[in-house]
């Protein structure tokens, strides 16, 4: 689904590279988690996939290419706006807009120009059900999204992302600001979403990675150290550094 081929990336026009020759293939409808210590480049790689790094003016991919669904996403014919419609993203800090729950979920559809009330209603219900939030909020769709709890807000963000029916969902440490119970709910949700979407998740928690992901990639200082089945990585890592990190000897 996503083929990353020998990618190097720099935030300052190639002076220093934060990603070095990364190559990995992310399979469809599976959960792939990126782990590694802070500053190892896992979030950067995630943001490369939907070209969010375009917002940083001096950033550039120095070598290699990223193909999503068989198309090189950095070619000139690719419109990043269209690309992002197919790749949803959930952020570390839950960031619903200060609007009603309904408006939050409908936001992505509205900016695509959909005004039909019926279509919007259906899409909102479908997305909220998909994000396992419908039963909790169905009676207060018009209330401000900021009145929800942290976990609910993060699930609302996921609902907002899936409302535009993307193929891929990128999650950048979605549970780092949540308490264990809310985390459990989000994790449960991710496991359910796997059936429909390709999910790439960046996480600091190795337990989380082992619990929810099918594949795991371990990054260290901008390099991909090891990538494989989650079970293999956690139980039988081939590299010494992976083993050290997973067993908590550093990081």
């Amino acid at each position: 689904m996503i083929n990353i081929n020998n990618v190097s990336f720099s935030y300052d026009k190639g002076k220093t590279e934060v990603l070095k020759n990364i190559s990995l293939d992310i399979p469809e409808k599976k959960v792939t988690s990126f782990i590694g210590p802070s500053g190892c480049g896992k979030s950067t790689l995630l943001r490369c996939i939907n070209r969010m790094n375009d917002l940083v003016e001096t950033s550039m991919i120095t070598t290699g290419q990223i193909d999503v669904m068989g198309q090189n996403i950095n070619s000139k014919e690719v419109d990043p706006i269209e690309l992002r419609k197919h790749i949803g993203m959930v952020f570390q800090k839950y960031n619903p807009f200060p609007k009603s729950i309904y408006d939050n979920v409908a936001y992505g559809l509205r900016i695509q120009g959909i005004k039909n009330k019926k279509t919007l209603d259906q899409a909102v219900e479908r997305s909220l059900r998909g994000a396992a939030l419908w039963d909790e909020v169905k009676d207060r769709l018009k209330d401000s999204a900021l009145g929800l709890s942290g976990g609910q807000q993060q699930r609302l963000c996921i609902a907002r992302a899936i409302a535009v029916q993307p193929k891929i969902i990128l999650m950048d440490e979605p549970c780092s600001a949540l308490d264990p119970i809310a985390t459990a709910k989000v994790e449960e949700l991710i496991t359910e979403l796997r059936e429909e979407f390709t999910i790439v998740i960046v996480t600091h928690s190795m337990q989380q990675a082992s619990r929810i992901s099918d594949h795991t990639a371990f990054f260290y200082l901008g390099e991909l150290i090891e990538y494989g089945q989650t079970d293999t990585i956690f139980q039988n890592p081939s590299k010494k550094r992976t083993e050290d990190y997973i067993s908590g000897r550093f990081g």
Binding site: L55, R84, M89, G108, L146, R160
Partner: protein
Amino acid sequence: MPHSTKNPFAKKQSSLEKKEKTLFSLFAFCTYFIIICASCIFLNIIWNGTPVLMQKGLSFITQKPETLAVLEMAKSDKYQVPSENFNNLLKSNPQEIPIKSLSVSEKQFQFVSFKIKQGSIIGDGYLLNIEKDNPGTHIKFTERKSPKLLGFNLENDKQFTLSKKELSSIQKNDPQLIQSEITEKKLSLNNKKVTIKAGEYPISKEAHDSLLKSDLIFQMKQSFPDDEPDKINLTVIPHDQTITVSSSVFYSAFDDEDASSPLPTTSIENSPFQKTITTFSLPKAHYKVSPETLKILSNHGIKHLHNTDLGSIVINEEIKASLTLDKKAYTQLIKDNPNLVTSDTKEHQESLSYTNFSIEKDCEVQLNASDLDIFSKNPNFKPSSKKTHSYSGGGILGPIIGTACLVIICMVIALFTGIAAATYLNEYARKGTFTKTIRLAMLNLAGVPSIVFGLFGLGLFVMLAPVFSNTPKVESKLHIPIISLGSPPELRTMEAEGIVAVDPDLSTSQAVATASTQGAKKFHNGYYYISFQGWGTCMLAGGFTLAIMVLPVIITSCEESLKAVPMGFREASMALGATKWQSIRTAVLPYAFSGILTASILGITRVAGETAPIMFTAAVAEKSDLPWQGIHSSGFSAFIDFLQQSVQALPYHIFTVAGRIPQSEYTRPMQYGSVLVFMIIVLLLSAVSIYLRNKVRGKIKW
């Protein structure tokens, strides 16, 4: 551990403590100083302003500024004035007037309502009178014509003394006019023939004025100012001249004894001549004469409202509105304009209630100038003294409306530009030298004194800004012809604005030259021009000047509020496939709104109070019309005309009443009243905006 008996925390340095205390009181005083100043200012204004508002009541903000007349009235006289004006009299006097024997009576007035038929011919003054009595009518015309006969009314027998030439002209055009005996008389007059050498000489204004009528060729080095009648200026006589002047000119300019600074002459000769004058008389009656005769007679004291130079007005356009005049004026109108045809004539009566009163003892009375006109129609009205104080009567409606208009126009421009610029700087522009330079420029702009903005606005908007017009000014800096379109404006506009129609085949520069030799202010040759002639002193120029002045404040605070919107909103929106502008519009600007509101509060209060920038660009001291009054166009062009109106403005009005007119006890209430109202308005404005902002803020939180 053994305790020492000595207190380790004992006071040691009392001097330090003193210093502390002194500093404390200094700081405290500096803080309280603000409160002291503020309360002094506020109390003073409230103390002096409240009585004014109490006395004038609501009329203070619903009436336009007027001249106040202060009259010394003698004891008892029977007065009869319309009740409305009588009530105004009571209102405009702070102390009670000793008035006795009030009674109200009804007076009947005859009015005629009529319609003017197409093709009628009417004199200028008559048309103006009709429009004056029928507010809101504006009759357009496209043609002038001199009809065969014009009427005038001679109220008393009158004797005329004319030159022979004039008499023969009258006899030729109106042989029936003069029925009385004509006497002829020969007069011997003495002209002087003087020779002046070339050179520079000082002359007085009186000499200058009389020399203007003579044949002398001369040029003044300076013009005479109106306020210094005794000033002596240098004149240049380019070459030796010999001219013949009448004796009156001679005595005022050349004679040693009479003139204050006589021009030196090299020779003086008498040149006597003879003139025949004729005398006849006309009995009182109504006459119909030819325009030529009327022109001669009006040079000799006949009163009428015809325009004998340009000709009478032909009404080609159908006038649907029914017009009303009082019966006397209507009869006179029909008599004086033989070619005026009216239809649908209806007579009706209207009654007006009058109040009769007399004044018990000698007293001082204050009256607004408009009421004074009505009062002076009373035959008994003979005040023993009359003094006028400008702007001291009426209210301040004009300035309030003017300030409101200026603030609205300014804020529309400033907010639009400001938000756009702030969005660009914060969302689009690369962070670097460019944005740094712009910020530096903005800081500097914020520090420019407001008078400089006023002068800048004068130079740019009032005198240079481009105008799209088919009647560009002759003195415009640059004419760019755009499109040949449309017909010339109607004759009335052309006359009123000094527009001259020139041949469309001429090039622009030739057209300008032709028009300027004809003394025109504007020209029309069928083309629409972009003409760099400035907008004149108007609300639009003032609004733009004020907008430029507040832009730094607005941009800075808008940018701050944009910065305060979390980055996450932009990212979330972009990640959902929004374009840059979509995400700014839906996920950034709405949440910066409260900050932008704050910016506009700052802007509005500052703009409303500025005097210097509008002094040259928009504000006038005296204007009887509100900005939307006196506009005769319709639709979009009416809106443009509205924007091109000059206005009175509150701060400028306060400046005028407080500093530019002679001060007296009658102007003081106006000053304090204006200031108090101004302060209330600004405070109200701030209060409303703060309330709004808090409301918005309460709704949006993250």
